[in-house]
């Protein structure tokens, strides 16, 4: 029961992710009124769960490398800080990145517990924040050119083109939802995988492990977020940044789905490695950034006149604000969780503190020691 209580912050984060990031999958389709919201929500909900359970492990491992949030209390707090950040940004109708919120939040935990942040992993993650939208833009332009070529070659009646585009949006949206689940479930449940161990479900022909169960629960939370709160953000993404034709919408969703899939597919990464190329990092990618990269790509290809730069500016501000806000919030919430609610939030390496203390201090030692602040009432630790 207590586990479920602590898991609520992750479920809240999942709900926020669904509310916000489904817009990146179906926002353009719903915004351009090619797909009804109800249909989009059902498809996205189903496929996001399948993607999370079937392919969510790869990106989850990368996030674990950034910070192995080891206690249930800390996992609860880190996820809650990210969720509150995402929720707040969503209320402002900004396509916020859940990936950035959780990364900021984990770094907040690293800071609070004085755990070192692996700069290599952080660089890898931040690298995808840059390469994701660029790749999204490149895919979008390429696909857009192919579509234009195909449109010129095949003289389809406008009505048939409309129906094919509509069916395409649904299929590509399903693929996108699958990729979103696979790539972003780590954001939702990643921090809990070290602290919650569920009994594997053995069906004889199929064993569902603890991680998969957590991913399934997280997937359901995402699906509920899509169904209950994503409509408004879908309309923001679909209409605000640049006027989109349904064909452009199809391209954007496909480009974005490909990027998410690439950054979450272990098989693809292995295949690339097997031919001697560097493996693709499996990292939770910001789907918001990728979709905006794709929209800008098409916008630039069409001459760049249609891009509304003021909206682009406010979205970019959200990107910077998200990890910082989540990190600060996480840090202070951990402090309260630790000192007010007396919950363990993970180990604190006190090497830096020891070095600054006097020789009389009982904590002084040449070797760094690990203390559990939940069981300490040391003033020097409160400074964190």
């Amino acid at each position: 029961m207590i586990t479920l209580l602590f898991l609520t912050s992750g479920l809240f984060l999942g709900w926020s992710l669904g509310a916000n990031d489904a817009a990146n999958i179906f926002g353009t389709a719903v915004g351009s009124r090619m797909v009804r919201f109800k249909l989009a929500a059902i498809i996205a909900g189903i496929f996001v769960i399948i993607g999370a359970v079937a392919q969510g492990a790869g990106a989850n491992d990368t996030l674990g490398d950034l910070g192995s949030v080891s206690t249930l209390g800390a996992a609860f707090t880190v996820a809650l800080a990210a969720a509150l950040t995402v929720f707040w940004m969503t209320r402002l109708s900004l396509p916020v990145s859940t990936s950035q919120a959780i990364v900021g939040s984990i770094i907040g935990w690293n800071f609070y517990t004085n755990n070192p942040t692996d700069l290599g992993v952080l660089t890898k993650i931040v690298g995808t924040w840059i390469s994701g939208p660029i790749l999204g833009g490149a895919f979008a332009v390429l696909l857009f050119m192919l579509l234009q070529l195909a449109t010129r070659k095949v003289r389809l009646h406008l009505i048939y083109k409309d129906v094919i585009t509509r069916v395409g949006l649904v299929i590509v949206g399903a693929f996108g939802a699958y990729s979103l689940g696979a790539n972003n479930i780590a954001n939702v449940m990643g921090v809990f995988t070290h602290s919650i161990q569920l009994t594997p479900l053995d069906f004889g022909w199929l064993v569902i492990g603890s991680k998969q169960q957590l991913f399934f629960i997280g997937g359901i939370a995402i699906a509920i977020g899509i169904a209950t709160y994503s409509k408004h953000v879908m309309n923001t993404v679909g209409k605000s940044l640049m006027p989109l034709t349904p064909e452009a919408a199809l391209i954007i969703v496909l480009a974005q789905s490909l990027v998410l899939f690439i950054f979450s597919s272990q098989n693809l990464s292995n295949a690339i490695a097997s031919i001697g190329l560097p493996p693709i990092p499996l990292v939770p990618v910001s789907s918001s950034q990728v979709v905006i990269g794709a929209i800008i790509g098409i916008g630039l290809y069409k001459g760049g006149r249609e891009i509304k730069l003021n909206i682009l500016g406010s979205i970019s501000l959200g990107w910077i604000a998200t990890p910082i806000a989540a990190g600060i919030l996480s840090f202070f919430m951990l402090f309260f969780m630790n000192n007010v609610f007396k919950q363990e939030v993970g180990s604190i390496e006190i090497k830096r503190i020891l070095q600054s203390e006097t020789e009389q201090d009982p904590l002084q030692n040449n070797d760094p020691k690990t203390y559990h602040p939940g069981s300490l009432q040391n003033d020097s630790l409160v400074n964190h």
Partner: protein, 216 residues
């Protein structure tokens, strides 16, 4: 999924049928006016009944197209443009029918020495409409080509204006044998015939913008 394609197929057939009906209506108008001017009463009566039938068919088809497009949310982004364009196509056949009926009701007298001008006016005005209708078809299949097709419409509309002006000048400056009532009556018929090319031009203007909007 097959249901969606079935509805789409049906709508495509209906749109094509609607455009064909409008085109036939305009052709019937032309033949009807020529029959009247050549005093071919029987043929003219046939044309009146033909245009009546075609106009009713066009109205019926237009209602079906509107219903189906909205009911199945087809072309969500351009449906209002498409419906308004088809409405303009329908106006062509409506006005053709109304004008042909005016010949039957008012029985205008065309003196021999101006009849040829009215034949030219009718042919040119109808030509503008006959040029815009293929552009409507092309809009559905190859919108990029639409703008290139519209130059002929503007040309024939301009020519129609010129012929109409020349008729009016002739009526009021040269044909002193006609009394004022006859002159005004004939001027109105020049305006009625001219209205076909005016409607064609309005449709061309709308099409031109729509083609720009739809090109990705």
């Amino acid at each position: 999924m097959s249901i969606i394609f079935k509805h789409a197929r049906q709508l495509v057939v209906e749109i094509d049928e609607f455009i064909n009906t409008a085109e036939q209506g305009v052709l019937v108008f032309k033949e009807g006016v020529l029959n009247y001017l050549n005093n071919e009463k029987e043929s003219f009566a046939d044309k009146i009944s033909d245009i009546d039938r075609l106009e009713a068919a066009a109205d019926r088809l237009q209602r079906k197209i509107d219903d189906e497009a909205y009911q199945h949310s087809l072309l969500p982004q351009s449906i209002s443009d498409v419906v308004s364009m088809l409405d303009r196509v329908d106006e062509l056949i409506d006005i053709a029918k109304d004008n042909l009926y005016l010949f039957e009701l008012e029985l205008p007298f065309f003196p021999e020495n101006i009849r040829n001008e009215y034949i030219r006016l009718t042919t040119t005005s109808v030509e503008a409409a006959l040029c815009v209708i293929p552009a409507v078809r092309t809009y559905f299949r190859e919108p990029v080509q639409v703008r290139d097709m519209l130059s002929k419409v503007y040309f024939y509309e301009n020519e129609t204006d010129k012929i109409s002006r020349s008729i009016k000048r002739k009526l009021f400056h040269e044909m002193h044998e006609l009394d004022l009532a006859q002159k005004i009556h004939l001027r109105y018929f020049a305006l009625h015939i001219e209205s076909i090319s005016d409607k064609a031009q309005e449709l061309a203007d709308a099409l031109s913008i729509m083609a720009l909007k739809i090109n990705i």
